[in-house]
Symmetry: C2
Amino acid sequence: MTTAFPVLLGAYEPTTTAHEPAATADGTAATADGTAATAGEILDRCRELVRPVLAETIGRLHPWVGEMAAYSFGWCDVGGTPAEGAGGKGVRQALAVLCAEAAGASGEAAVAGAVAVELVHTFSLLHDDIMDGDQTRRTRPTVWKAYGTGPAVLAGDALFALAVEALAAVPGAGAAAGVRRLSVALGDLVRGQADDLLFESRPWTGPEAVGPEEYRRMAEHKTGALLGCAAALGAALAGAPENTAATLDRAGRHMGVAFQVADDLLGIWGDPAVTGKPVHRDLRQRKKTFPVLVALSARGPGASAAGQLATLLAESPDAPDDATTRRAADLVERAGGRSAALAEADRHIDAVERCLDGLPLAPRASAELRTLLGFLARRDI
Amino acid sequence: MTTAFPVLLGAYEPTTTAHEPAATADGTAATADGTAATAGEILDRCRELVRPVLAETIGRLHPWVGEMAAYSFGWCDVGGTPAEGAGGKGVRQALAVLCAEAAGASGEAAVAGAVAVELVHTFSLLHDDIMDGDQTRRTRPTVWKAYGTGPAVLAGDALFALAVEALAAVPGAGAAAGVRRLSVALGDLVRGQADDLLFESRPWTGPEAVGPEEYRRMAEHKTGALLGCAAALGAALAGAPENTAATLDRAGRHMGVAFQVADDLLGIWGDPAVTGKPVHRDLRQRKKTFPVLVALSARGPGASAAGQLATLLAESPDAPDDATTRRAADLVERAGGRSAALAEADRHIDAVERCLDGLPLAPRASAELRTLLGFLARRDI
């Protein structure tokens, strides 16, 4: 069952992915020494390209707000002492850069867009951590925990404003189109976050329950919209036709759903030694994840397990014990939730592939995009 | 002393201002029946022009987020029951509309800009109330108090995104220029709020004390930037030359400082029967307002009172009693803080007048702008 999409539950460290041999076969994703670039190498290259402009942009902020921004990028500790290594992977900036290259331009063309999407991503993490009450991110206190809620709200706002400013400053007609694209993604992001927050207070079963289709839409909005925007912005800033940008936007949205479902799988069955998080974490937190929602709606052979799962969830307390979460995980699997989630992620990965296949993309960048997307469906972004 | 700028401490209800006779003398601000439009009438007219588009724009939000937005506009109660009358005055939308008319166009030309600045203003109120811990606004619970902090953060973000989207959707070259202008104002707004938050923990005296010049910059950023943006956007969307828009932006920024200083005067010496707030409110809250800061920096005849004020502030507790705040108000006045604040507000009003005088504006809209500005320097916006 898990062989349908084994890469989903793979290791955290970027290693060779299923896509790389194909990329290497035609030589397009090969580095100078003839080997294919790994996802880690691709992310590093894009991060290095974008970082000087990102740092210069952050440097325009009010010093206090700038410190919070630098902290959230992992560039400094509380107090401003320079630090390294606790930042995000920069998936969105990489998508923008690779899509500019895939459209036949230099990655430089996408830098303003890459900066904008990284700023928006960081803004959304800052505010989401407040909304979700999350106290740690990437092994450090979240910004609201370290600096206070008010300052974290302010820092998020500053990053948001800066993202718009960075994109609006692009010369020519690209600015307005870029800002329009970003504002649509922002609207979707807020919509997805609103749904996700409301999911918490919805029942597990009955007419008010969250269905798998609603989950898909939430994931597309919350995670996919900005990935799609990153890809589309990169291509558009490189002069790609609107149709190419729109297709890459769609690819990014599918990628977002695939990632979110993969993350849900890890949240239940991920190896704590690899994920760094407790086993069955999402079941302990009673999160409405895709495997659980789809298990609860099972008909046919899975219906009996679905019924037992519904009863268990209805009767278990807010902080269920180990035996209860283990039993819940077992029932989700028996009701078909695990296999359905793997198939769901697979379907969205396939949709991404079809989007990319239909576009006239530069081969090397296209291969690197696939490497990155394979990596993305596997682990935290 | 208070005769230097009597209008500052005038009544709350819009009444005839000092500017109106001049406007009426040449008939330019006269309504159909020949009398000058009051600030209240001007605000009503502009609100009516903008509201349908504002309501349609809000209607595009996620329903839950849309309810919080409508609540903050005073259009509904918690739960969504329609309500009327608790909204803001809509000064920013009126500035945009009047500046479009002043530039020779119909107010309609400014509506997208008016919507954007009202959305940004409301976003900033939502988030500022969280940062400042304010529990009521316009006699109702603030959004974070009524719906929770997380949802209020989200609703603010949604309004912010919607503002950018509304402006980015303007056809032609106006979109990019408008978004650029808005993003500069947004950056300044955050900068001003950051400074204002940091002022709280700064000392009253010594090298780390907040000086009057720092206060001016904070007020220009926190209050002036969006007023300036509203005015400039209105003119620019009406096709005014960049120089006109830039001058109106400057006028709005001066207006912001004048308003903030006037508000500080009301916060100490305002009549509770008129302001609806306790006497000496800002002294009770130990706020670093302009009259206090300028009093503390007094040299010459006011130096002795300044010294006593510094001692009083250093020694008084976080919640000073009536006798202490009365004595503080007296010392601020004796050190020249009240007269200096009145003169400061006057200077910025004069600067606004000079900005307007230098522009070839349509006479009626120009007269209405002056009526609105006279109203603004007097009371809450």
